[in-house]
Symmetry: C2
Subunit: 667 residues, 2 copies
Amino acid sequence: MTHHASPTAAAAHADMANCIRFLAADAVQAAKSGHPGMPMGMADVATVLFTRVMNYDAADPTWANRDRFVLSAGHGSMLLYSLAYLTGMPGMEIDDLKNFRQLGSKTAGHPEYGHAPGIEMTTGPLGQGIATSVGMALGERMAAARYGADLVDHYTYVIAGDGCLMEGISQEAISLAGHLKLSKLIVLWDDNEISIDGSTDLATSEDQLARFAASGWDTTRVDGHDPDAIAAAIAAAQTSDKPSLIACKTIIGWGAPNKQGSHSTHGAPLGDDEIAAMRDTLNWSHGPFALPEDALTAWRAAGARGAKARADWQARLQAAPADIRDAMTAALSGDLPAGWDDGLKAHIATLIEDKPKLATRVASQKALDALVPSVPTMIGGSADLTGSNNTKAAGMTPVKPGDYAGNYIHYGVREHGMAAAMNGLALHGEFIPYGGTFLVFADYNRPSIRLAALMGVRVIHVMTHDSIGLGEDGPTHQPVEHLASLRAMPNVLVFRPADAVETAECWALALMNNGGPSVLALSRQGLPTLRAAASADMPSAKGAYVLAEAEGGARKVTLLATGSEVEIAVKAREMLQAEDIPTAVVSMPCWELFSAQDQSYRDAVLGPDTVRIGIEAAGDMGWQRWLGDNGAFIGMEGFGASAPAPALYAHFGITAEAAVAAAKAKL
Amino acid sequence: MTHHASPTAAAAHADMANCIRFLAADAVQAAKSGHPGMPMGMADVATVLFTRVMNYDAADPTWANRDRFVLSAGHGSMLLYSLAYLTGMPGMEIDDLKNFRQLGSKTAGHPEYGHAPGIEMTTGPLGQGIATSVGMALGERMAAARYGADLVDHYTYVIAGDGCLMEGISQEAISLAGHLKLSKLIVLWDDNEISIDGSTDLATSEDQLARFAASGWDTTRVDGHDPDAIAAAIAAAQTSDKPSLIACKTIIGWGAPNKQGSHSTHGAPLGDDEIAAMRDTLNWSHGPFALPEDALTAWRAAGARGAKARADWQARLQAAPADIRDAMTAALSGDLPAGWDDGLKAHIATLIEDKPKLATRVASQKALDALVPSVPTMIGGSADLTGSNNTKAAGMTPVKPGDYAGNYIHYGVREHGMAAAMNGLALHGEFIPYGGTFLVFADYNRPSIRLAALMGVRVIHVMTHDSIGLGEDGPTHQPVEHLASLRAMPNVLVFRPADAVETAECWALALMNNGGPSVLALSRQGLPTLRAAASADMPSAKGAYVLAEAEGGARKVTLLATGSEVEIAVKAREMLQAEDIPTAVVSMPCWELFSAQDQSYRDAVLGPDTVRIGIEAAGDMGWQRWLGDNGAFIGMEGFGASAPAPALYAHFGITAEAAVAAAKAKL
């Protein structure tokens, strides 16, 4: 079935590919769990990629201009670990492979970004890899537009399975990639016609090539076990002016004589007997984790193929004009430039002086106006809600098909694809992406936010229309559980600023959060500026702070609120103070930052011996932590409704009067 | 541009379509918010549908064999409300239109299921309508396979916009519909080339017709302002053996002389001046909410066109064989059949006797084996994880393209499409759908679960692999925040049973929950049967109960746990009792049901004066409510890891020893 340039080359290829197959089969067997079928089926494709096609240097897996490789079908993690070991990436030893799926090992069940070399991103949740790779490929073009083709010129390769292509996010991704003509994105589809339930024709009869073509992709189909055909297809794809899909017809679990071609190879060890039979079939005389010396030598040579290219690139970088070199180096560092917040500080001072009434989404745009000129790596965008999310700062220009110099991305009505592309832009290295949608649609892109949190990647989600305060659009558009559901996610900073000053501060904090995603929950409706006085630091940095202390005696009541409800707390405080009840207002723009403060600060803010009333136009999940046994909560008990915002606040009893009554009932 | 059968017919059509346009423009203007552009652009298409095509009787908008109409582009709600009023559906009066988007009105900003006649489902979040309609169209075929074409034989029509088609869920939906050959599903795409940010070519350049064709759809394109062309295209689609997409080239806001064709008509009132200009342009001499008598009369006649068809159908139902008639009537009632839980009760008795060690996902399959034969309206399925979710009960047979007699759906790797299709199956009326995926992938289908909650639709999500207890697949597959994020959603029952007995009870409770979705969070790993004694009622029905009471004195410690951690609580109790500390174990399979109990029951269970320790292999969000100020929580503080499950429980300190130490520290 295969046609090689020469018998010798064919034998060498087969041996090298079989290294992957046996490492995968043996590691899964040792772990007593895992997915051997995919690495075995795609071993030929991966071998071609890593020995004949890709421009990389195993000695430096983070070289900025390397070709990217994303294993979207992340369950085939042993493919990636095998490649890292075989090519000689530092820090991946044979013992790591033996330790597959064990506690603390680099070789987790699915590839975890940062755990081992060669892992461009965490994959496993299907469709995320292909969608994130769109962001990487876009990042490559955008970086090339900024720093020149001498310094940025690489491909992004993806291996995706049937599952990745069945996920809806794949459509958002390929549609965006086709539209933007990301011609250096090449997807290799493991077209093995097998899914977990059995043959793919149980559930799909789609013409994938036609689908990709409809989205502006070049497509072709090859025998995924014919190295020369694979190489030729990739070579053709490299010269296309469109992104390319190469359907690789493969046999899942290729090499396992009795099980190949069956879904039984997908997600379980092959068993000792089948592996023994595989050794017989493939004439493999080496024991588990032992490899033929010739093949390993050839693999290591392949891994070093790109050493000269990397050295040449390094020389070009050194020889580049200083402004280009410095700008690229600074962007890749991830550090914010000197003086990045000067404009923002001046903006905050003006806000405190002028005390405008602004929706925080509008305040967000003003903060962006102050930040974007100073932080040129910020890349804006929205899922077709630019005017509503207020995400386009003054002077931003759109990224267009074939023209990547802009800094604003019209993602289309593709919240999920946007969030994944943002992850890819951030992972590519040069950019700080932010993107907008309505908070309620956090449900649409949650899986990609979670991956950003897991990877520790800096992306900023601007989520406006953050409560019933959006009014007439009604319950489908009114988040009530979304703050809780995002706060529940580890390693996410959820900001809900109360006014324009806090909004500016939260933007600064989100930019400084270089270890994970941030979410800015912003109001549609206008809110007064509540911050009375300038301060040397940013009170929002501690997550919660006393906005107005009690007067006329020891504090008896603490009103805790976030976002648009801080205004209500301020009114309630006035009413309680008028009744000689010393009351403080605590604004809590970020629970996660507040949780990280020490106990004494938290106690000083919360007032443990006071009656604590929480006010938030959302469900109460999580609030008990701040309110304690003698606290009460003013918020939503179910879904919202369609009506003007003031009517809704009254209808649902989220009022200063209700807060006052609750406080007095608890005193 | 348009070509009519006769000038008279053309004028009549124009008047009728303009009724929609003016009602939409005037209602949005009166509300000072809303979306006039879509109803105005699609008024011609809708008029053709409701006056010439659809088989319905406005007098009975819930007639079981009516053609379904889904407004996937839900922001165009005034289209739907106008149609309900114009056709004469009971309970939709002109005052309701005048009251658009006001508190308590039937005419919410987006169509809300149950608020007004003619609303087949709640829409607004884009893509949900088209995906849910797949379930309706599938439900039609499945009901026809059961009750015969005499009783079930209708079309499902959908109006979808560019946004719906850009959402990834649309791909999952059309791929599934094409695969299953749902030939009576007809989608009318409002192809107006306008999105919120501006022209659609800002973000997409997809060939939608080619995309649908790739998924097995018939496609065509018509002038969306030419009634005869629209009617002809629909007539052709009706006879296709595939689902059909009709791209209707329209002008958004058609009729507004200065604004039509612009995104400015999409989501804001046109303004008094533009509406006045529109009256001039269209020679419309009627004031706001006033309609020409001829046109209204014609509309009412159109709405009554189906009266005879409905009467004939009613007669056929009466004349049908008793078993068919009774089965269909019973299915449509939504009631569970007499004796539906006899088998389950016997199964529970056997479990208590045998005390097997079973993963709750396996216990779920056994519960299904006991239920499905008694509840023939249950429709199973999985998003390609059948063997892992254990969702296929004994004897279930797959639904296949062209053969809809089965009761198990291979949804493919399409979690979101599955959840939406389940909503559609439930909304169609005859079925109780359940579907499986991993709990972590609740993030993928969350928007559809939310819609089920908002609509109050009975669907059951089987979500297995519910914690770090799944082991080696690692953090991408280990939910830690998903229980909290689902518990935060209003009107969802989240069940996490501790053993096989609770699993069976929770299945019964989920089936009995006819007012919203239920989620069953189930373990991958084996769990002992903890329920010691049979009981007349189902202890799980109260949401939480004392599984083991303290001994040797007044209770000092209450250990509260769910699911797989109840076993840990039982061990901790033994250790505490051995130290003469009277300790109770409370199992909490469903927080929502427990919250609905009266205070005295809750206090009796929780033991307000005891030290309360919560144990759950998840984050602590929400637990403070049950634990109080002197409580402590044993669980996860961040993401999981890849390792065998026992190693993970030890690593993360979710152990009986930790619970004992926490209790003693608090005593």
